[in-house]
C-alpha cells in the first residue's frame, strides 16, 4: 500500500514539500486510539447537588460559618445548657457591676446578667430570621414562578404588585405597620411584617429564574413526550430555578435578623418582655460613654450571627452558581 501511495503522490504533487513540513505520521503507541466517544466509567457520578456539596465541603468559609451556625442553633434550642442564670431575674444591687464568677459579662443597668441575656436572646433573633425566610421563600417563589410561567396579564399584574412593594423601604413599612399593632406582641407579629415587605425580592428572582429555565429545550422535549404544562412547571422548571432562590434565602436570613434587632431597638419590634439582642442594645445605648461593654456583648452576638449567615450565603452562592465567582 505504501508503494502505491508514493507513486500517486509524485504524480499529483510535483512540488516538493518545504523543509519541516514533510509527511509525518505519529507512531501508534504514542497516541493509542480509543473507542469513539466512550464513557469514562471510572469517574464518580455527580449531580448538580453532589457537585455543589463537594465544592462547599472544601470551602473554609462554609466550614467556619457552618460550625458557627450549628453552635448558634444549639444555643437557641437549649439556652439552659450554657447558663444557669435567669435572664429576667434582675436586681438593682448589681447594676452595672463588672464580671464576676458565673457572670462573665457582668450586669446591665437594671442589674440583669448580660451573659444569660445574650444567650437567651439568640432564640428570638434566630426564630425571627428562620421563620421570615421560610415564609418569604414559599410566598415569593410561588408568586414569582406563577408570574414567570404564565406570562401575559398575570405576569403584568403580579410584577406591578412586586414593584409597588419594592418601592416601600422595608424598615419604613415595618415601622408604619407595627405602630398600628403596637399593643399585641409576639415573635409572629415581627415575622409577618418582615415577610410582608421581604417576599418581593425573592419573587423577582424566582420570576427571572423561571423565565430563563422555561425557555430551555428540555421543556419542549418534555411537552413532545406528552407532558402537560403543569407537570413541566413542577417537575422541570421549578427544580431548575431553585438554586438562585436558595442563594437569596441564605443571604437574606442575616438581614432579617438585623431588621428584627433594628425594630426591637426602635421599641416597636419584639415586646420588652421578650429577651432580644435588639432590645438590649436599645436599653444599653445610653450607657455607651460610661459602660460600653454593656452595649458591646449583645451587638457582638448579633454581628457574629449575621456574619455567619451571610458567609454561608456567599459559600452557597459560589457552589451553586460557579459563574458568579469573582476570582
Amino acid at each position: 500500500m505504501a508503494e502505491n501511495a508514493n507513486s500517486a503522490i509524485t504524480k499529483e504533487k510535483p512540488l516538493e514539500t518545504l523543509p519541516g513540513q514533510e509527511r509525518y505520521v505519529a507512531p501508534l503507541e504514542e497516541t493509542p486510539l480509543q473507542q469513539v466517544d466512550s464513557v469514562d466509567e471510572a469517574a464518580p457520578a455527580t449531580s448538580m447537588w453532589a457537585d455543589a456539596w463537594r465544592t462547599l465541603r472544601r470551602n473554609p468559609l462554609f466550614i467556619i460559618s457552618g460550625i458557627l451556625i450549628l453552635f448558634i442553633i444549639v444555643v437557641a434550642l437549649f439556652p439552659s445548657l450554657f447558663t444557669k442564670n435567669n435572664p429576667t431575674y434582675c436586681s438593682l444591687e448589681y447594676s452595672l457591676d463588672g464580671s464576676s464568677a458565673g457572670h462573665p459579662f457582668g450586669y446591665d443597668l437594671q442589674g440583669c446578667d448580660i451573659y444569660s441575656r445574650v444567650i437567651y436572646g439568640t432564640r428570638a433573633s434566630l426564630s425571627v430570621g428562620i421563620l421570615t425566610t421560610i415564609i418569604v421563600v414559599v410566598v415569593g417563589a410561588l408568586v414569582g414562578a406563577i408570574a414567570g410561567f404564565c406570562g401575559g396579564w398575570i405576569d403584568s399584574v403580579l410584577s406591578r404588585l412586586v414593584d409597588i412593594f419594592m418601592a416601600i423601604p422595608l424598615l419604613l413599612g415595618a415601622i408604619v405597620v407595627l405602630q398600628m399593632f403596637k399593643t399585641t406582641g409576639s415573635v409572629w407579629k415581627v415575622v409577618l411584617v418582615l415577610a410582608l415587605f421581604g417576599w418581593v425580592s425573592t419573587a423577582r428572582i424566582a420570576r427571572g429564574a423561571v423565565l430563563s429555565s422555561k425557555n430551555l429545550e428540555f421543556n419542549t422535549a418534555s411537552t413532545a413526550l406528552g407532558s402537560t404544562p403543569m407537570r413541566n412547571l413542577f417537575r422541570h422548571i421549578i427544580p431548575n430555578s431553585l438554586a438562585p432562590i436558595i442563594v437569596i434565602a441564605t443571604t437574606s436570613l442575616g438581614s432579617y435578623i438585623v431588621s428584627e434587632a433594628t425594630l426591637s431597638f426602635l421599641g416597636i419590634g419584639l415586646p420588652s418582655t421578650t429577651v432580644s439582642w435588639g432590645g438590649d442594645i436599645s436599653s444599653a445605648q445610653s450607657l455607651l460613654r460610661t459602660d460600653p461593654m454593656v452595649l458591646f456583648y449583645p451587638s457582638c452576638a448579633l454581628a457574629i450571627t449575621v456574619l455567619a449567615f451571610i458567609m454561608m450565603g456567599d459559600a452557597v452562592k459560589d457552589a451553586l452558581d460557579p459563574k458568579s465567582r469573582t476570582a
Partner: protein
Amino acid sequence: MTDEKKTTMNDSSADAMREQQLKSGPLLEVKDLQVDFTSDRGKAIHAVRDSSFSVYPGQWVAIVGESGSGKSTSAMACLGLLPGTGHVVGGSIKLDGEEIAYYKPKQFVHLRGSKMGLVPQDPMSNLNPVWRIGTQVKEALIANNMDVSHEKRSKLSKALAGSEVEVKTEGDETFIGSKELPDLLEAAEKQLVELGVTGTKLEKTMAKFREEWVPGSETRWRVASDLIKAGVKDEDAWYLAKKYVTGSSMEDRIAGLLSEAGLPDAATRARQFPHEFSGGMRQRALIAIGLACRPELLIADEPTSALDVTVQKKILDHLQMLTDSLGTAVLFITHDLGLAAERAQHIVVMYKGQVVESGPSLEVLQHPQHPYTKRLVAAAPSLASQRIISAKAHGEENAVVMEHRVDEKKLKTSDTIIDVEHLTKEFKLPRKKELFKAVDDVSFQVKRGTTLAIVGESGSGKSTVANMCLKLLEPTGGKVLYEGQDIAGFKGHSLLDFRRHVQPVFQNPYGSLDPMYSIFRSIEEPLRIHHIGDKKSRAARVKELLEMVELPESVMQRYPNELSGGQRQRIAIARAMALNPDVIVCDEAVSALDVLVQDQVLQLLNDLQAERGLSYLFITHDLAVVRQIADDVVVMQHGKLVEHGTTDEVFNNPQKQYTRDLLDAIPGGKLELGLDL
C-alpha cells in the same frame, strides 16, 4: 480591486513564492509544544503534548481534529492567549526565528495585531455590541499605531512584488483619500478623452475605476498601473497618481479595510452597530479587524463554523484572495476535513493533544496512514458523499458507503405516514405591521420506513415545519396528517396517543436533557408520563434502551453534565425510543457533534430504522449528511419549498439554481479523498 489582479497565483509566481519561502524559512515554527491546564484540584491536565508544526509565509496551514484535541489550544498558545489556567510548560514557539513561547503577557501585546492577527470563532460574541463597527476597526489600528495613509506590505509580498510591478518607494504605497477621489476620477476621464477614448469604452473604463479605486484601500501604484493599462502614458499616469493620491484619513482606511473584507457600502456600514449585521457580515468585520494591521500571520479559529455553507464559501473565497494578495500566512483551525483539503496546502491532524499526522493536505487526506486520520476521513460526511458518487460511477452498489440508506424498492412501494399539505406559518414580528411568513405553502409526504430530509440554511423555516409536524406549533394555514388524520384535531387522549407515536430528537444535546434529572429519570420520564409499566418493568426497559443506544448500564446514575455531546444525543434518542414510536423528527440532531460521533449517531439511527421500520423526518443544514442518510430530500429557502425529489435526483440532477449553489458550497465536495479506504 479585481480578483485576478491581486491574486496572480500562476505557476511562475508559485515558483517565485516557493523560492522566497525557502529563503526566509518558516514564519511560525512550533516544536514539541506542551501546554498544561491546572484543574480545580490542582492536577495538571496535558492539553497539548509534544506537538510540532510550522507555517511558511503566505501559506495556508490547517489544524484539524475533534473538540478537545488541542487544536485551538495550540493556536492560542502561539498568540499568548491561553484561557484560564493554561500555560506553556515545554517546547518552543518561534515567530520569525524569535522564541516567543515564554514571553510575558506584555511582550505579546507588541506581537498581536501587527505580527499575528486573530479571526475568532463566534462572530456573535466577539464584537462589542455597544460600539460601532468602525470604532472597533479603529481600535485595532490605533492600538498598533498603524499608518492609515500608507499600505504596509508583508515581507513576502515585498519580495514577490519585484517580479511583477516596479514598486519601490514608500510614497507609491499611499492610499487614495475620499476627498481627492472625485478630482482623480475627473482628471483620469479628461486624460482618457484626450487619448481619444469615447463612448461605451470610456464609460466602461471609468466604471471600472470607480469600482476599483476604493479610498483607504487602493494604493498610488495600483492607480498608476490601472491608468497605464487603460492606455495612459507612463509619465502622465504617474503624474496623475502622484498629484491626486495623497493619503487617506482614518475614516477612509476603516471603510477601505471593511470593503476589502467584502462588506458592500463600507463607509455606511462602519457607522452601524453589530446588531445591525448578519452573522456573515460580522465575520467579515472580524476579518477586517484581524487583517487591519497587516499581520504576517493570521490565526483563524473555526472562522466560519457558525455560518451557513454558502456564506462560508463566499467568506473563505474572499479571505483567500485577500491573504494571497497581501502575502499573509493563515493558520486555520477547523473540524471540517473537506474545508481543510480545499483550502490548505499543509494539514496537521491532532488527536488527544498530539499531532498524529501532518503533511501536504491532499496527500494526507487521500492516503491517510495513521489509524485516527483514516477513521476521520472515513467518517467525514462530505467525503463519504464523494465516495458514494464514485462508487456509483464505477457501477458498484457499494454496501459500505450506502450504509445509511434504505433500498429504492421500499421507497416506491411504502405508504405515506406523514402528509404535509400546504403548510403555512406566519409570525408577528415586534415593531412591524406585516406578518412574517416563516413557512409558505409547503407540501411533502414522509413514506413509512424511509427518511425524508429537509435541508435549508438558517432562517429557511425548516425547524418551524418540524415543530408543526410535532404539534408544538399550530400552523396558520394548511394541515399535517398523521396516518391520514389531521393532527390539529388531536386533544387530550388522542394527543397523548399521537405523542406516543411521533417523537423528537433536538439539536442541542446540552439543552434537551434536564440537568437536574439523572439519565435514568430522563429516559424513564416518557414511561411515567404515559403510565406504562410498574417501577420494576420501567427499570428493565431503561436498561434495554441504554443497551440499544450502546451505552453502559452504569450511566443510569449519572447526570447529563458528565456525558459528552454525542452520548447525550444517544440518551435523547433512547428517550425518544422509549415509547416505541413510528416517526422520529430529528431537528439538526447531529449538527453539533464531531464527525466521528456524528457518524456513530447516524449509524445508530440507521440501524434502528432497519430493525424497527422507523420513519425519520430529518432536519439539517448539511447536505453532505443528507446524502448519507436520506431517501427523499426537500430543499427549503426563505420558507418556500425549492426542490423536492429523491436524494439521487436532487444530488445528481439538481433542478434549481439554489440547490446547485448549496451543492457547490459543500466544502471539499469535489475532492476525492480517502482513496485507500
